[in-house]
Amino acid sequence: MNKHIPTPCAKWAEKLAATHPSDLTPFERKSLNKHVESCSICATVLTNYLELDAQLQNSYVIEPLPGLPPQLLQLWKKQDSQRTANISLLIRSFYVLLAYCLMITGIGIYIIFRNSFQLSIWIPIIAVTMVLIIGGGLFVTKEVAHKEDQSYDKEEYRYRKQRSIPLRRSKLILLAFVLSVITSAPPLVTLIKGYTTPSGTTTASATAISSTTQASSSFYNTVQHQKLYGGPKSQDTDQRVIKVSPPLCQVVVSVQNTLLLGSRSQATDGAAADCNTTQVG
């Protein structure tokens, strides 16, 4: 190394510098080796080159980085939170929308059939409360999940494994969906029961639903009759009286008019005034 590198033959200088096996073709390598055998200067140069390469390779033993760069981990965390926030916002919005659809369905079913079947006013109230709680809870989970992520700092590998599976959030969404279905189930079950149980009150409605325009007209008439005159009395079932406050009753009636009866709403105006006490048969 300390010796001065002699100047190699000009023709072979670049080929001598090509120490990697794939730098030269087999033919070139063979001819170079042949030349090096015959030329002592080029042989010295080649030895020096190989020594230099060895020194360049093995000069230092330095500790590698202990882990992934902290800036990179921060960047990943930021990207992850952005990505999961976007996805979860979509998912959460979808499920909240679904929950509210179910809620409205529940209310609608209650409004339509509250006089036909023995539906308790508490069913839609509970459904609304549950859906509101679930809907609100879903939007709160983002912050909770973010706090959970902070504990992953300690072990980056575990963090990387866990961050890709927002399990708790998925479970919450599933729970929300199940609860939404459950809360909407009582009106539906009662409705189905009403159809399957042969009773005086359900026959008219069942006929009305299953028939065409004429039947729907008779259904309308049945509902109006129940509103105005307290509904047909059934011998099989006990009569219950639910007191509903006038404003709530007006809201229910107006929703009913909008949803079901459309232009024929003027007929129910009288009912709103008369619904301080509504009989449910």
Binding site: N2, A18, S22, L56, Y60, L68, L75, K161
Partner: protein, 201 residues
């Protein structure tokens, strides 16, 4: 039927991992990091002095690699591409620090030799530092070519990574070796002269 485990050192496997990392898979990038971290640190240790500098530059290298990875066209060239990022990062750092060229003898022992763990006698430590100083005398392109060739890259791989012709790589390597050897010789002569002065005093 169970598939035989894939050879984790094969090029095909590496390309697959790089492709996954390009698609922003963090696990895949972590695998690449684990694989090339020692190599990159060793490379950088030949260009800068202290362990802290090496680690800072290695951090920057991997961060840049993650950010620029989608731009990498050929996954099989990842290693060469990473080397180029590392050497460019070191060059920018040295430019900023204005430490290119000659380092004083005193700073050599304070910063360089003390922080590096080198196998062998003290003589080797001095030799290693001579080597580093000599390497700094070599212009950037020949130095990069030389370092990459010493780390097992073929001239065609270096040419592709540096976007120059293969003939240029050959020229740079040849020039780099000559300059490195000359610089080493000068440094050794310098140290011998200073030792003689000390002994005469």
């Amino acid at each position: 039927m169970a598939h035989p485990p894939e050879d984790i050192h094969s090029d095909a496997w590496l390309v697959k991992v790089v492709e996954l990392a390009k698609a922003r898979d963090q696990e895949a990038f972590a695998i690449l990091f684990d694989r090339y971290n020692p190599e990159i640190c060793a490379l950088l240790s030949r260009l800068v002095d202290s362990k802290e500098e090496v680690h800072n530059l290695a951090n920057d290298t991997f961060l840049k690699a993650w950010l620029q990875l989608p731009k990498l066209r050929d996954g099989s060239r990842f290693r060469a591409w990473l080397y180029i990022i590392a050497t460019n990062t070191a060059r920018d750092y040295l430019r900023r620090q204005k430490v290119r060229g000659w380092l004083r003898w005193s700073s050599l022992h304070e910063g360089g030799a003390s922080s590096m763990s080198v196998e062998g006698h003290e003589e080797n430590v001095v030799k290693v530092d001579f080597f580093k100083l000599a390497l700094r005398q070599v212009p950037w392109k020949p130095r990069t070519c030389l370092l990459m060739q010493a780390n097992g890259f073929s001239q065609s791989e270096i040419a592709k990574a540096m976007e120059i012709s293969q003939a240029s790589v050959g020229t740079y390597v040849s020039k780099g070796r000559t300059l490195l050897h000359q610089a080493l010789k000068e440094l050794e002569e310098e140290s011998q002269t200073s030792e003689r002065r000390r002994s005469s005093h």
